[in-house]
Amino acid sequence: MEILRKLYEMTAFSNLLDNPAPLFMLAVGVLLLYLGIKKQYEPLLLVPIGFGVILANLPGAGMGIVPGDFIELGDNKYMNLFEIAHEYGIMNFLYYSLIKTGLLPPIIFMGVGALTDFGPMLRNLKLSLFGAAAQLGIFTILLIAIAVGFAPNEAGSLAIIGGADGPTAIYTTIILAPHLLGPIAIAAYSYMALVPVIIPLVVRMTCSSKELKINMKEQDKLYPSKNVIKNMKAVKIAFPIVLGIVIAFFVPTSVPLLGMLLFGNLVKEIGANTLRLTDAASGPIMNAATIFLGLTVGATMTSDVFLDLKTIGIIVGGFFAFAISVFGGIFLVKGYNMFAKKKINPLIGATGLSAVPMASRVANEIALKYDTKNHVLQYCMASNISGVIGSAVAAGVLISFLG
């Protein structure tokens, strides 16, 4: 009997009897895996996050992230990383060295930069402006969240979901409200995956068939642009350097994100001479960062963190942040079209949201539905990419004022 008692103590069943909440969280983890695997919602992130949720909620396994105050010693002193590993295990070691330090989101942004082509944006620079309008969801939801009673820092983290950019949302939340990291990351990636649902929804509610048939290429023929780019390679090399410096003067807090994005992009545009760096940034570094980011962010979702009214607020608020951002972009196009001769398809406003490149693909499909010859993809990519810059800048503003 003694031996059976010891056996029982080794298992996690006593923990479960004390607190069955983890069982619910395991279901959440399985749901996220289902969304990532079967529904193919951003599987690169939702699969590690879902598995991280499961690992964190296996009672007795010690894989859940402990709250930040567990490692604070007061007086601005913290446990060191070795002590964290020793006391709270490898997940907390990874989380407190890679995530809580703010390291991985900029690292992933470096890889994103190395995979980004600013070409479409440079060919249609004017369209970048819609990447600004489509940040409207962020600041509107910030207002509403604060009105509803969220603390300003939490409201900022919730609002940044409207930037439709995973690393930006995570980076901002690490700084403003790390205790909400799990739900916010999941909401951000889930809604990014739901862009094929959200964009058509907002478009249908706001745009007429006539507007959606606006053919950008014909407009370009009617009103040709004066700019020809004679040496695209040189432009693409100079652009990230100059842009990085100038933006930094205005929003220095956005540098860790945007600086790394532009560094990755520069290295890629240089070409063969720095190919080793491009390959590393967009390959092993980014992939490894994605694994550890996903697992550890998922592992922050212990039951006491998730089973909170704020989680519902984040889920609802995140959705509206997305929708309002899409609306913001569309709205600016409509305003522009009222005054300009050269019309713009409102879908190009909708993609200002970012969620690159899925938003552009979705928008292109909508356009083709209304006119099978109306390919808007390249134009959408212009506002789409500028939306990444837009939300990183918005994140910088939130961090400056609420951090």
Partner: protein, 86 residues
């Protein structure tokens, strides 16, 4: 609460102004660079260095021959990513 709300209102203004300012700057910078490059370095460098990796030691003549063969055989749908020599 009302103090926070005021902050949020301000941030709505500051935020959107900043975002628009930056993206206007993006347009400005982009156009300036394009003009500058068009005027001062309008020619692209001669050497194509797109991907460059591998094929170290394989003469560009042979490489071209291989690529051409692949192109022909694949109706242009295939591509040689790497052929390495020791």
């Amino acid at each position: 609460m009302s103090e926070n709300f005021e902050l949020a209102l301000q941030l709505l203004g500051i935020g959107m102004v900043t975002v628009f300012t930056i993206l206007l700057l993006v347009i400005l910078i982009g156009n300036t660079i394009i003009k500058f490059v068009n005027r001062f370095i309008p020619e692209a460098p001669k050497v194509v260095s797109s991907r460059g990796r591998s094929s170290g030691g394989i003469s560009s003549g042979k490489m071209a021959a291989i690529v051409a063969a692949v192109q022909m055989a694949t109706n242009g749908k295939g591509r040689v990513t790497s052929i390495e020599k020791e």
